[in-house]
Amino acid sequence: MIDLKKEINERIGMDTILGLARKKMVPVHRHSVWYYMGGMLLFLFFIQVVTGPLLLFYYKPSADAAYRSITEIMVKIPYGWLIRSVHHWASNLMIAIAFIHFFSTFLLKAYRRPRELTWLTGMAMFMVVLFLGYSGYTLPFDERSFFALNVGTDMPGTMPVVGQYVVGFLRGGEMVGPQTLNRFFALHVGILPLCLMAVLFVHVVLVQVHGMSVPLSVEKKTALKKEKAIAKPMFPHLLLHDLVNCLILFGVLVTLAVLIPSELGQEIDYLKPAPEGVKPDWFFLWVYQILKWMPTYLFSIEGEIAGIVGLMLVAGFITLVPFFNRKAQRNELSPFFTMVGVISLLAFLALTAVGYFL
């Protein structure tokens, strides 16, 4: 009889892979929970990669067919409602967990030397994921998509110099119209996922190369007690843990999809006024709230421009934080940056809540 295990091993070198896997250790301490976020994100990405193409079997990316095809997916195609809802909820959960991953990394200063590149790739992915969420929102081409498209593609216009070009690129014309849908479709199913996959690969490889970052506080404590840090092998211990996490996550995902299936709004009517209370998705509510509160003029600059430039500065600062935070680079505690993190976390939560409930 053929020894399948041996045959496969001979060809793909399972032993080498397993050998590498057994060398990989994951530190265990009170902040270990945050290590699980990455695995969950990976799992959700996998869900999206599966459900997305499934939807493509029936979705028709053209202005006059998109809405109808979504209706058919929801009503006629067996389990179409479920697949679409799972895709919808997985994107929401993905963004939510990405926020958690982002804040925990920021607060624990996991971007310290030598992990600056990991941080940068992470930030790039964060932006791509946000844009993926937004572009997916526009594809049903219903009323909400229409206003999301209008507002969303208008905003980059306030950027100095390049603004108008970005708007033109996104809209494919002066105004949002049938052609805009195809551009967003191309971005959503082609360009953005490919970018995400490429950067994701680098990110994951870097994480494997550097191993998990241990928070400074934990490092200090173990150093004080002069004991060796506890660590467990990634495989199979942590992997089984990840498996359990993902199973629960999957259950939650499907439960949400069944209890609150994703909606479909009215068909687009170019002449209808914007309905009451159009708001962006929850993950952009904080931006929306800041822009709403901006005075028309701030120090003689137009309020919207000031707001957007301000946001871009903040984003730039956060992206480059590994290079600003000198203390963390020298492996010293940096309470100032912890404060910045806590304040932005609170501000994010507060603004989102305000935007949601008011």
Partner: protein
């Protein structure tokens, strides 16, 4: 050098077939249609035939409604998930026990 010797004919074949396809296919596809190849017809509907009604927003709302079948399906899903988690936990605990005793379970070999 040996390598090139095998590759060259293969490449030559490839190029040959490429040319062949480029020149051959359009000829097949581009046959000029004669004029008036088609004839118009009217469909005769069978009695009692109704054109399928278009789907409306209320159909979508109906499709979104929670049904007993869906709750049942969800319950089964959770049951299976909990079962797998239970099984995984047993194995994980076993791994843990072995590990602290100094065995590594990943390769399935005791050492």
């Amino acid at each position: 050098m040996n390598y090139l010797k095998t590759v060259k004919p293969v490449m030559a074949c490839g190029i040959f077939f490429l040319c062949f396809s480029v020149f051959k296919v359009p000829e097949l596809l581009c046959q000029e249609p004669e004029d008036a190849m088609t004839i118009a017809v009217t469909e005769i509907k069978e009695e009692g035939y109704e054109p399928p009604a278009g789907l409306s927003l209320s159909d979508v709302e109906n499709a979104r409604k929670l049904t007993n079948k869906r709750i049942y399906g969800l319950a089964v899903l959770w049951l299976l998930i909990l079962l797998v988690i239970f099984l995984v936990r047993i194995q994980a605990r076993d791994d843990e026990k072995l590990y602290w005793k100094g065995y590594y379970s990943g390769t399935n070999k005791l050492e």
